[in-house]
Symmetry: C2
DNA sequence: ATGATATTGAGAACTGTTTGCAATAAGGTC
DNA sequence: GACCTTATTGCAAACAGTTCTCAATATCAT
C-alpha cells in the first residue's frame, strides 16, 4: 500500500487515497467536489461549488456539499473562511498559512503573509496569558488609483 | 452649540442630543437601548441587549434592537463584531481602535492594541495597491496554565 | 392640541447552514 | 460477481441570525 516512489497521478488521487485510508468512502459526490476544489482557484462558497457539482451530476444536493466541506475541513484538506457579510468561503489548504485582503468593491481576495505580524500576534497573546489556537487577519480595502 | 467646557451630564444625554440633532427621534426603546450599551461593559449580542431591554419595557421587540444597533453603527456610536460561529456582538465605540483576543473556552473577549501591527498592515496593503477601509484582527486562544 | 411622519411590534420572510430519515451505494468478504 | 453491512446521500424540514412588511403608535415641530 505504501508506495512513496510511485509518481502521484494527481493531487486528487492522492487525496482520495488519504481519505479512503482515513475510513471514508469515496463516493461520486465526493469525487466531484474534490475535483472542483482542486481545480477551482479562488475562494468559492458552498453555492459556487454546488453549482459546479451539479453540472457534473445533476442529483448532487447542497446538503452534501456542506457535509463534504465539513469533512474536508476536519481532515485539514480545506480551510473555511467567514469573511464579512456573506457565506463561508473555502480554499484548498496548501500548507502555507496566509491572511487575506478583501476588495470591498469586487469581493476579490488577495492573499498575503507577514512573518512579523505573526510574531507580534504571538507576543501579544503571550503577554495576555493566552496561547493562540488560530487567528484571523482580514484587511478590507479598495484598490488605489495609482 | 460647541461648548466643550460644560460638564457632560452623562454620556447618554450627550448621545441623545447628538442623535436628535442628526434628525432621529429619541423614542423610549432607543433610550433604553442606549442606556444599556452605555452601562454594559462587555461585548453583548442582540439577544443580550434585548433581554436587558425587556426588563425595562416588556413590549420592546428584538427587531427594534436590531434596527437600533444598525442605526447606532451607522452613526458611529457602536461597533459591530462578527466573531466566529456566533451572533454579532456590539461594543460602544469609544474612540480608540483595538483588536480582540477571544477565549475559545469561555467566549470572553480581551482587547488589545498594537501600533506595530497596524503599521505593518498599512504597509502590506500599500504594497498590494490597496488602501485599507477597515480590518479585523482576531486571535482565538486559550488561557495558559501558568 | 394637532398633524405629519418616523418608529414601533408582531410576525412573516430570508439567508446560510444543519439535521432527521428513508433510500442508496461503497467497499470488504465470500 | 453477488452479498451484506453501514456510511452516505437526497430531500425536506428545522434551525439561527437577521431583515423586512405593514398597520398601529408615538415623537416632535407647529
Amino acid at each position: 500500500m505504501t508506495d512513496p516512489a510511485s509518481p502521484a497521478a494527481s493531487d486528487t488521487d492522492d487525496l482520495t487515497d488519504r481519505l479512503r485510508k482515513a475510513g471514508f468512502r469515496i463516493t461520486r459526490p465526493r469525487q466531484i467536489i474534490l475535483s472542483i476544489i482542486a481545480s477551482q482557484a479562488g475562494h468559492p462558497d458552498a453555492r459556487d461549488i454546488f453549482q459546479e457539482a451539479v453540472k457534473q451530476d445533476a442529483r448532487i444536493s447542497l446538503a452534501t456539499v456542506y457535509r463534504t466541506m465539513k469533512l474536508l475541513e476536519d481532515e485539514g484538506v480545506i480551510q473555511r473562511h467567514a469573511f464579512e457579510g456573506g457565506p463561508a468561503r473555502f480554499e484548498a489548504a496548501e500548507g502555507d498559512h496566509h491572511d487575506h485582503l478583501i476588495d470591498i468593491e469586487t469581493g476579490a481576495v488577495v492573499e498575503f503573509t507577514s512573518e512579523r505580524i505573526e510574531a507580534l500576534q504571538e507576543e501579544i497573546a503571550d503577554r495576555l496569558g493566552y496561547e493562540i489556537v488560530h487567528h484571523r487577519l482580514e484587511l478590507y480595502g479598495r484598490r488605489k488609483n495609482t
